[in-house]
């Protein structure tokens, strides 16, 4: 014992013992929980049916390629929506800071906008915009659900993104603004070169979380037409009378969202460390 711990300080040796003990406890309790699940869940009366309809390996093999293909549509909608959301969100955040009386309507609009679109469920906006606007009798291609589904996502998400940008702008200390103004910089240059670069850096982790939420909410467009992964899984469900395609779809989402969530958490942790 004494030999093994040669070179360690008393504190280090103590902490190593503590670490080993808590690792053993953690392993023991995890093992117990997994064992209980493995033993108990199959004993539930409906387990055989659930296994067949949710975890049928043959169905996984049959549906995976087409589901993955459909997921590319989700990714594409995400990819063209995200930059529009960022641009519109930033514009609204800036509009709410405007002090020029000529631009007052812009400021009022910014406040109304964020109130309305943060207050309505995304799926409702998708329905109302996706069915309502093409219902005006627009002709092809202007009645496409891709266009109006995208518009619905952009409207909703830019309201959230705008609020996050605004909190970032407000978090930059007044003394930074004063330093810039005292050098003779204009208000807009102060915002552009001094406040915004700091504000945007601070809200990147929070905006990452919005991106993850957006990637998931793209599936809501299935309600108005596009055959993306959720809708494709529904088609398979009806065809095969089996729910496994939904599990496959969920797994495909996780492959994308879990690493993204980890990255966001990592960025937040790094920022918290940098501040202390």
């Amino acid at each position: 014992m004494a030999q093994e711990q040669a070179g360690l300080t008393r504190r280090q040796a103590f902490e190593r013992r503590l670490r080993r003990r808590s690792m053993m406890i953690a392993a023991g309790s995890t093992g117990a929980v997994v064992l209980a699940m493995v033993l108990l869940i199959p004993r539930a009366p409906g387990w055989e049916r659930v296994k067949q309809s949710f975890f049928d390996w043959d169905v996984v093999v049959r549906t995976f390629p087409k589901l993955l293909n459909a997921f590319l549509l989700d990714v594409a909608i995400f990819a063209w929506s995200a930059p529009m959301i960022a641009a519109l969100g930033l514009a609204i955040a800036l509009a709410r800071d405007v002090r020029n009386p000529v631009l007052y309507p812009l400021r009022l609009f910014g406040a109304l906008y964020t109130d309305i679109f943060r207050g309505v469920p995304v799926v409702l906006v998708v329905y109302l915009v996706g069915f309502g606007i093409p219902g005006l009798g627009l002709s092809r291609p202007w009645n496409s659900p891709y266009i109006w589904g995208t518009v619905a996502l952009v409207l909703t998400y830019s309201a959230y993104v705008a609020e996050i940008f605004r909190s970032g702008i407000e978090s930059v200390h007044q003394s930074q603004r004063n330093a810039a103004l005292s050098l003779g910089l204009s208000g807009s240059d102060t915002m552009r070169y001094v406040v915004l670069p700091q504000a945007i850096r601070r809200v990147i982790p929070a905006q990452m979380n919005m991106l993850i939420a957006l990637q998931k909410d793209v599936a809501l467009l299935s309600f108005i037409g596009p055959v993306e992964i959720f809708r494709q899984a529904g088609v398979f469900k009806s065809l095969l009378a089996n729910f496994t395609p939904y599990v496959v779809a969920a797994a495909i989402f996780l492959v994308v969202t879990v690493p993204a969530t980890r990255l966001a958490d990592h960025l937040i942790a790094r920022q918290n460390r940098a501040r202390t």
Binding site: A179, L181, S182, G184, L185, S186, Y193, R201
Partner: protein, 249 residues
Amino acid sequence: MKLRLENIQKSFGDTRVLDGISLDVAEGEMVCLIGASGSGKSTLLRCINLLEPLDDGAIWLDGEDIADPALDPQPIRQRIGIVFQSFNLFPHMTAEDNVMLAPRRVRGLSRDALRPQITALFDRFGLADRMGHYPDQLSGGQQQRVAIVRALAMQPEIMLFDEITSALDPELVGEVLEVLKTLKQDGMTMVLATHEMAFARDVADRVCFLDRGRILEQGPPAQIFTTPTQARTRDFLSRVLNTGQAPAA
């Protein structure tokens, strides 16, 4: 007179912070404002720079009333440099970019056109090898000197200093005060709010004692520090000089 303050009034809510301040500053003069915390020194400097709007009174800069509320403050601020207690460098820019931002945006000069002048300024204040550093890579004294260079790069007509050594470790105060002596030799017109009594005594042309938003007493440092006429000035000086709050410059 380079700068003339006339009956300056400023309140924050019900609190009267500046209560009729009048002061003349001649070209090339260094005026030190001393007084307890809350006596109005910082607010006065921020008013001169138009960061705080005045309630009443006038500020004449070269014979022009810059306190006219209808004036656009932006071009006036370019003529008046200010350095703050907490440096307020832009943390996302290198020292060089901090200094270049205003001349580039406001005077429309290119980096290349600015570089000789800026490099000379950094060099002059011992910062030649720090131009590419970010503020958090610099000591407090270096940051404050960069902040001074940043203000000087706009070639201001007068400079204001708001307790610029108060946030510094004691061993870094000297290098910043040296910069002020250099500027005085250059003939820069300066108004300082300071707690560095020894520096004020040795370097200032005139010392003003502020108390509750008024200039209670002013005169050459030799007179203010040795034979103050007001009881409150004597009180203040005996407190700060006896507690050693003013290390030698």
